[in-house]
Amino acid sequence: MTNPPQSSNITITKDSAFSVKINRFLALLQRLLSNPTTVIGLIIIGLMLSMAIFAPWITTANIPDPYQMPRDWGAVRKPPGEMGYLLGTTNEGGDVFYGIVWGSRTSLQLSIYVVGSTMIIGTIIGSIAGLLGGWVDEVLMRIVDVFLSIPELIFALAIAAVLGPSFTNIIIALSLVIWVKYARIMRAQVLQIKQNDFVDAARIVGDSKFNIYIKDILPNAVTPVTVQATLDMGNVVLIGATLSFIGLSEAGIAEWGVLVSEGQAGIASGRWWASTFPGLMIFLWALAFNLLGDGLRDALDPRLEDR
């Protein structure tokens, strides 16, 4: 009771630095999970992922290519529940439920390929521009500006169009469009962090440019890139499905956008199910990653950390 409020001695050791990191991570996790909408997003993502992983156990895989819709010409245009088709069938006798389950795999592939590749390419190009500066920066950023001048979907549509209709080409087209976002984020981060005091301090201590980059700049840039990547996981599936819907995938592939397109023909005759369910999946997928991305952004916001 009587001890005066003297400042207590704080000693920092490597050990405590590590535990600080762990504590910070736990605090982040706590902040994430305290937000109900983020939890909803995580639950949906969890369900989607398990659907993708356990697809062969949920439905019998189509032979030889499970990503191709099985056609049961004896059960065309069946409403949900009839003839054992849980969510009905399409005009061409495709099982909507099968399409949804295997479509989650297609979507997962699309988002992982696109986000993974663009994150790497964008990060590298953005870092080079930011670190080297000068004319390299100037040229790279002008290219980025040109790419950003064309609306996302229209650009992807144009690329996919000249490459020819196939799901792989959609992945390529999206990758060519999306990478600029990461290049931009990364360059801004590098420039911003380059000006911070601790990088100056590192320079005075005599660290090489590359070391400074790896040790100080890269870890700090993780936050905005992660948030963007999370949002893009949903976003690219949305655009990809739109391209498929327009008709830039192979017909008959188990992909949600293709299924919506296939079901569209039947709505005049009251066959609502073939479009509704696959579209709902696209919506839920994008929604889940948007919720998680928003939650991440809030949780990682340094302004909120002290509260």
Binding site: M1, P4, P5, R307
Partner: protein, 413 residues
């Protein structure tokens, strides 16, 4: 004091005011039982460090508190507005007599309990406020004229209509326009040629009132100022606009929340002078909130020292500066540079302001106090009078205070 009524010379009385804030770490007792009075026509200085609750206390008069997270936990802010002639706002007219003086007292109200509508009638009319940073307190997207017009339209619409020669007008749309309560349908009605002419007349009258109010703050070319945006003015000019706006309706009480902190020292003196002059002319009471003791000494009649959500000492300015009786007040004074004190002998009070989350029932200054005695950490000192006009919340009386050697010089600045 029978029936809780004021003495005649009292304008407002704060009783046991408690304002708390909910935060994630607990309840912050920002203002925790504050008592004081504001007398008619006086300047009361409210002094203290950042975060001691002085701004919150000041804003309580206008109920401008962020609620939630804030909660008014208890107490009362009693206020007896002077009845003013609604036609001329006390400037003197045929109806209220040429004196223009505020003679009769109005009813006494508790500002914390009255309805929102009643509160809005008082805001800007009977109680006005000047903010710390005039650059932030003026809307960047509205012209000076438009912002100042709002006060007049809000509280003096009858006078404006009189001035515009529309005193007997029956047109509801124009009436609502003069009260800034234009409904969607009125906008269409106001497009009619006759209404438009009347509308212009009203705007002209407002313009005259605004430029008159501005000229009182010694602004050169007030008419030219009306169409300017705040960012086109200097800091001093902006604060003059704020002052003109605050004193527009001749309020009984002016809350001045560090009005010169954001300004240059050279401008500061002139602004202070201006406030003082206008205040004396209009017999307005001023609650002057500041962290600057030397400034308060210059302009205040009485001074209240706040520490950690409480008032620890209050009294006439001369008394407080001649005989500071709370250890905290003494510490504050020792930290103020003034002529005659050699460099280097300025001192800071050791330690920091305690956190106001669930504070203990003890003297808030214990732990930092150089005069601390055993009782200080167990009991909570109440304000008690040491002279008729000077009260202190401390266990040690002033005799023993001067007896003890002050030890503020421990930490040199």
């Amino acid at each position: 004091m029978p029936n809780n009524q004021f003495e005649n010379n009292v304008l407002a009385k704060v009783k046991d005011l408690k304002v708390h804030f909910n935060s994630k770490r607990g309840v912050v007792h920002a203002v925790d039982g504050v008592d004081f009075e504001i007398l008619n026509g006086e300047t009361l200085g409210l002094v203290g460090e950042t975060g001691c609750g002085k701004s919150v206390t000041g804003r309580s008069f206008l109920r401008l508190l962020p609620i939630p997270p804030g909660i008014i936990k208890g107490g009362a802010v009693n206020f007896k507005a002077n009845l003013v002639c609604t036609r001329c706002s006390g400037r003197g007219c045929s109806e209220c007599g040429k004196s223009g003086h505020k003679t009769e007292k109005g009813e006494q109200v508790d500002l914390l309990k009255i309805s929102d509508t009643r509160m809005r009638e008082i805001r800007g009319d009977r109680i006005a406020m000047i903010f710390q940073d005039p650059g932030k307190a003026l809307n960047p997207t509205l012209t000076v004229g438009a912002q100042m017009a709002e006060v007049f339209l809000q509280h003096r619409s009858l006078e404006i209509l009189d001035m515009a020669g529309l005193g007997q007008i029956k047109n509801k749309a124009i009436l609502r326009f003069a009260k800034q309560d234009v409904k969607l349908f009125d906008k269409i009605l106001l497009l009619l040629p006759k209404a438009r002419k009347q509308k212009l007349k009203v705007q002209e009258a407002v313009k005259i009132m605004v430029s008159k109010a501005l000229s009182e703050t010694q602004v050169p070319n007030p008419l030219k100022l009306l169409d300017r945006f705040p960012h086109e003015l200097s800091g001093g000019m902006r604060q003059r606009v704020m002052i003109a706006q605050a004193l527009a309706c001749n309020p009984d009480l002016l809350i001045a929340d560090e009005p010169t902190t954001a300004l240059d020292v050279t401008v500061e003196a002139r602004i202070l002078e201006l406030i003082r002059e206008l205040q004396l002319k209009r017999k307005t009471s001023v609650l002057y909130i500041s962290h600057d003791l030397s400034l308060v000494r210059r302009i205040c009649d009485r001074v209240a020292v706040m520490y950690a959500g409480r008032i620890v000492e209050i009294g006439k300015a001369e008394e407080i500066f001649a005989n500071p009786s709370h250890p905290y007040t003494r510490g504050l004074m020792a930290a103020v540079p003034s002529n005659g004190i050699p460099r280097g002998s300025l001192s800071a009070i050791k330690g920091t302001v305690p956190e106001l989350i669930d504070p203990p029932d003890s003297c808030r200054f214990s732990g930092r106090c150089p005069y601390e005695v055993n009782g200080c950490r167990v009991n909570d000192p109440k304000l008690r009078k040491i002279t008729e006009s000077h009260s202190v919340a401390c266990f040690i009386n002033d005799a023993s205070l001067s007896w003890c050697a002050p030890s503020f010089e421990e930490e040199r600045v």
